[in-house]
């Protein structure tokens, strides 16, 4: 069997490209017999774990502690905040009993954990000393999505949702926490080399039970917007619903202020969709399940070359580098080049007779930059330098991708555009509705941070001729 590239242009047929990559690169298997739930294969799961580890470390470093709240939530607790119940009840999976017994109370499979978490917090938080409380958990969440499902992007069992929750004594502290949450996510997505807009969601579209939220939004090759993560100011709504109070230093008893923020496996979907190309997947070195693949260029009897390759492998492993030596005799080096490029391995080492004789290795980059041959003793540092160059090239490519799929419209004229639209706006619901009607896309929010520079909105008027003072981001989302 000859291996070839995926060979599909992701901008022309994203759905086909994406499914081929998920399958051929062994990310997930979508043949699981429950719709919207998928099996994670080891290679894909490794990438997800590496991504999760970055975020968990960023959360730990900023004082968030990992906790765990159970999967099943009693209906009596779930329904305590009314907006929340309204927002989630229809899409929650419900347990009513076992094969032989019916329960007195229905149990919800967590669609998100605010309700049970805050129920417990009301017992934990007593005084000012208990604040701020900063926690996170890594859990699977379940949503019976009625929109079309897409592997990793919109699923019914979300894998490894990392949700942080905090409680504070004052609104100011909660707002500082929102800023910290945004900073954490910026660093997180920057390390994944993903470009994003940050938008503040309009009041009529905020998270159930929240005061306001910020969303990180990127764009996929089919032009659809993808919400990567959300940072939410819950204010005191849940504190009141769940009676989370503390005694302040002056002896008065007050409700806490809360925030929460979460990201999911979607991030891996974005990494694959944004960094991949016609050849297949392309993992940034930091989250690549295999960072280096070694391909010996040797005939079957040239065991000295394979031995040398083994030695190179141990050198890299001893430095904590994730390396794989492909010595399968049934495939040619050419086959292997294509195969591992498709799998998204960022660097390949070619090792043949010449490398053996000169004590070198030849580094080939997944992004196609010229190969270099380096001395074994410099290999680790050269690899690290190469990765840093790959990071820069991936970052530039990703920004280019985003530019290509984003359009700043200066006039209120209908336009056909496969991507995100940026339009001058005054923040009002009326103007948002006009924009939505005009462009056939939803207003995702007010842009508070853009990866591409935008002219001051004040030089524009809105559709109704009012003064614009901000930009709306419009898009169709997953």
């Amino acid at each position: 069997m000859a291996w070839k590239s995926i060979g599909i242009d992701k901008y022309e047929n994203f759905s086909e490209w994406y499914h081929e990559v998920l399958k051929e690169a062994d990310i997930v298997d979508i043949r699981y017999p429950v719709k919207g739930m998928i099996v994670w294969k080891p290679y894909g799961l490794k990438a997800l774990r590496l991504i999760q580890r970055i975020l968990a470390e960023l959360l730990e470093k900023t004082g968030h502690e990992e906790a765990y709240f159970p999967t099943l939530i009693p209906e009596s607790i779930f329904s305590r905040e009314r907006d929340f119940l309204a927002g989630f009840s229809g899409e929650s999976f419900i347990v009513e009993g076992t094969g032989t017994k019916r329960f007195n109370e229905r149990l919800y499979l967590r669609p998100t954990s605010e309700t049970v978490m805050y129920h417990m917090w009301s017992m934990w938080i007593k005084g000012r000393k208990d604040l701020p409380l900063k926690m996170y958990q890594v859990v699977n969440v379940f949503r019976y999505e009625t929109k079309m499902t897409h592997p990793l992007l919109r699923v019914r069992e979300i894998m490894g949702f990392i949700e942080a929750h905090t409680a504070h004594a004052t609104m100011e502290e909660a707002e500082q926490q929102i800023a910290e949450g945004i900073k954490i996510y910026k660093e997180f997505f920057d390390r994944l080399l993903l470009p994003y807009f940050i938008v503040k969601t309009p009041p009529w579209d905020t998270f159930a039970g929240a005061e306001y939220n910020y969303d990180f939004i990127t764009v996929m090759p089919d032009g659809k917007g993808l919400e990567l993560g959300s940072v939410i100011n819950l204010g005191q709504k849940f504190a009141r619903a769940f009676d989370i109070k503390f005694m302040d230093t002056d002896g008065s008893v007050k409700y806490v202020y809360q925030t929460c923020y979460g990201v999911s496996e979607r991030v891996l979907g974005a990494v694959i969709g944004i960094h991949g190309d016609t050849k297949g997947a392309f993992f940034p070195p930091e989250v690549a399940p295999i960072q280096v693949v070694i391909v010996p260029i040797a005939r079957r009897e040239e065991s000295d070359i394979v031995e040398y390759a083994e030695r190179v492998k141990s050198v890299l492993e001893s430095e904590g580098i994730r390396v794989y030596l492909d010595k399968d005799p049934e495939h040619t080096p050419g086959w292997k080049y294509y195969y591992w490029e498709m799998k998204g391995v960022p660097t390949r080492l070619e090792i043949g007779r010449r490398e053996l004789e000169t004590g070198t290795a030849t580094i080939a980059r997944r992004d196609g930059a010229p190969k270099i041959t380096v001395k074994l003793e410099n290999l680790v540092s050269e690899l690290r330098a190469t990765w840093s160059q790959i990071n820069n090239s991936l970052k530039a490519r990703a920004l280019e991708h985003l530019r290509k799929l984003t359009l700043l419209v200066e006039k209120c004229e209908p336009v056909e555009f496969k991507g995100l639209i940026i339009a001058p706006w005054d923040g009002s619901r009326e103007e948002a509705e006009i924009l939505e009607k005009n462009f056939g896309k939803g207003v995702l929010g007010e842009i508070t941070e853009s990866p591409i520079q935008l002219p001051p909105p004040s030089q524009y008027t809105t559709c109704s001729g009012k003064q614009a003072d901000r930009y709306a981001l419009l898009g169709t989302t997953y």
Copy 2:
């Protein structure tokens, strides 16, 4: 508020001791409003994560790859192996729909993952090259236990069940895999300093759908046996039920042979129950959420001592040691000593004026051995040496614990014993029933490995006067 030790003898009142430790040491909160499901607090979860990491590393090192199979299992797949359905159906939580929609097919919350995993494997395994397949996953499993629940020991949502599954071309390979599984678990439990018997479960009591299984069994301070982990030879039962076949090198198509093995959060319950004492919890250094607590002996104005303590802290942190500096001015050093001993921190550093002036730190051990004062430059190596001594002392204590709660009965006379009973046996069901009746405890299996030396069973006869050729382990279990 004065802190004091837990102050309960775990051998006299284990239940009270255990609940106090779980609560005061901040392991879990059992006030979650669904019976048998508990909230993991950060300190307890950290210990669990450290324990899980050891096992995951042992599995990875032996070639097991992490995968993930969804939580919800369609009834049609779940019911495909009849013994299995019979074994698990009554205790499985079932989803029948959402708040607004009823599904066509009932979905089971995984009580364990054989069925869906093997359903997928039948698609993945084609040829000899695909074997052996060695996978593991870390998931929560759900069992509607009808026995009394106990936090960590018998729960309805099992936290972080680590289950490995393998498929092989021959029975011999499967048996070698069973040996590898046992070896992995031995190393795992040895590193946790837990003593255990390995028993082969009698045929009438094996895991649903299995050929035979080995269980690792320890004893808790109340004398109850605790199954720590199970290593199961599934033979070809599931392969036939799920049609998992491969084409062998000679072109013939054969069913695979399978094994699986898993451990759960119970292991942490055992660590707490077996290593803890009247003072509270006692974590072995390798899995202690905090390995060293630094207590400055300073009056409020002696900030130079606290600064020195900060310096000591950074030295330890830079070596990857998990350290906490307790500079809370509201508590005395004495209070802190008790508090952190109760939390199970294995080593404490006392740092006062004398330590500051001599550039030293005083190491106090949780097990009460004499304190030593060491130079700062030797601190890290001295701490590591101290931990190794603590490991030895914990191991000896744990073995003593097990001896105390195990009784070898040489005669078939009823005896009242709060613990495990070892009795000569010939392996027959009849003799097992006599033993069970006689001692009022269940036969857990045939002892294949014992942490305490036993005389050859051949010198005994069974209750019916037959020749004994093995020992039965009897006990009441969680």
